[in-house]
Amino acid sequence: MATARSRRRVVLVLSGALLFSVVLVANGGVAKGLSASARAIVSPFTWTINLVAHPVAHLFAGAVNYSDVLKQNEQLRAELGRERLTVNENSALRRQLAQINATQHLSYVGALDTVVAQVTANSPSNFSASVTISKGTADGVLVGMPVVANGGLIGRVVSTTSTSATVLLITDQTSIVGVTFTNGREHALVLGHGVNDPLGASAVQISSPLRPGSIFATDGLAGGQFPAGLPVARVHTITLTPGTSTYELTLKPAADLTHLSYVDVLIWEPAT
């Protein structure tokens, strides 16, 4: 039977732990320091387990999915050929657009420098949508920089070390992106709802000419977190509740966030 004293002790420890976490949340800097220390403690163990588990997992996956891998390889070759053709066709148009934007003193995403990085890890948690990439401050990657891949915006850099960075994805519950649609005439906010859920959007008036497939792109408004023109999401479903003046939208990310291997970090910092 537990004594009253030992019970009090456990309750005290638990209350202390809760208080500790409240304090850490309130003091972001302390939490970051402790977090880095904790990562350093675990890293030799993760490294060892990776070393043992990954070759076994790859061998197993390769043996089981060999025919799929061959098929996928052929599809990718065909896709690459089509993309090369599109790139060649677009390069002349892009030059023209950049020149027009320059004469109008507008920023042009295509003119921004990028850092290519490899995705080294996905978030291990259910409550966070993020990825770790292989480039950090040593390569010019800074907190706040937008990251694109697979045809659209995937998120922004939220923390860095000299050799790596963490990118918070647009599907994270804390993510909010200012967007524009219908050729820049209307604005909305795209909201993340977690790893497994579609994106949401702030109120959009029913007068807006939206249809499934319509593209939302970053608005680039002054003080915003992203430059203008990055595709963010496509309209997936449009629901109109009788008696309301706004649509309820679900959106799908423009980029395929489930297969992220390489990403481009845009060398662009939000205005402070």
Partner: protein, 170 residues
């Protein structure tokens, strides 16, 4: 440092590393099975409340260090699971480890169902209400099913650790 603490620290570190490198990438229906929350439950079955609470907290803190979520929140949930199951063993159904075979899996399923909810609730307490925006139901169901299946093998591993550390009740 006593043998018990060495066993506890080493087993907790290996468990967290396994969670991050192997279990988290193996999402079931898009959901991560939180073995770092099952571990304190398994340790509770060995009969040591302090070790279960301490290991649950440390495993959660180390896990949180790898995620963009409120730091130490998983630790608080882990510690609470260790505490609740220990109390249940003492005040409720008795010696869980020696109980009928289906008792630990049932408790595991209940804890798996409860844990994500506790996490979101504590998140709101520490000021992060955005956690409510995620779909908690799939997390609860998948973790309940996984805990139901995994609680037996993991409690066996916990018993080995307890025997090695010298705090096993057998």
């Amino acid at each position: 440092m006593s043998r018990g603490i060495v066993a506890l620290v080493l087993s907790t570190l290996i468990l967290v590393a396994t969670q991050i490198t192997i279990i988290s990438p193996l999402r079931i229906a898009g959901v991560v099975v939180m073995v770092v929350w099952l571990w304190p439950l398994a340790l509770s079955l060995t009969g040591s409340t302090p070790f279960a609470v301490a290991s649950g907290f440390v495993a959660g803190v180390l896990f949180d260090a790898h995620s963009q979520t409120p730091f130490a929140l998983s630790g608080v949930v882990g510690a609470l699971i260790g505490l609740l199951v220990s109390f249940l063993a003492r005040e409720g159904v008795g010696d869980l480890d020696a109980a009928a075979w289906w008792v630990p899996p049932l408790i595991g399923a209940f804890v798996g169902l409860l844990a994500p909810l506790l996490y979101v609730a504590f998140g709101a307490v520490v000021g992060d209400s955005s956690l409510w925006r995620a779909s908690v139901w799939p997390m609860m169901l998948v973790n309940a099913a996984a805990f139901f299946v995994l609680v037996r093998p993991l409690s066996r591993a916990a018993r080995w650790v307890a025997e090695f550390g010298g705090w096993s009740r057998s």
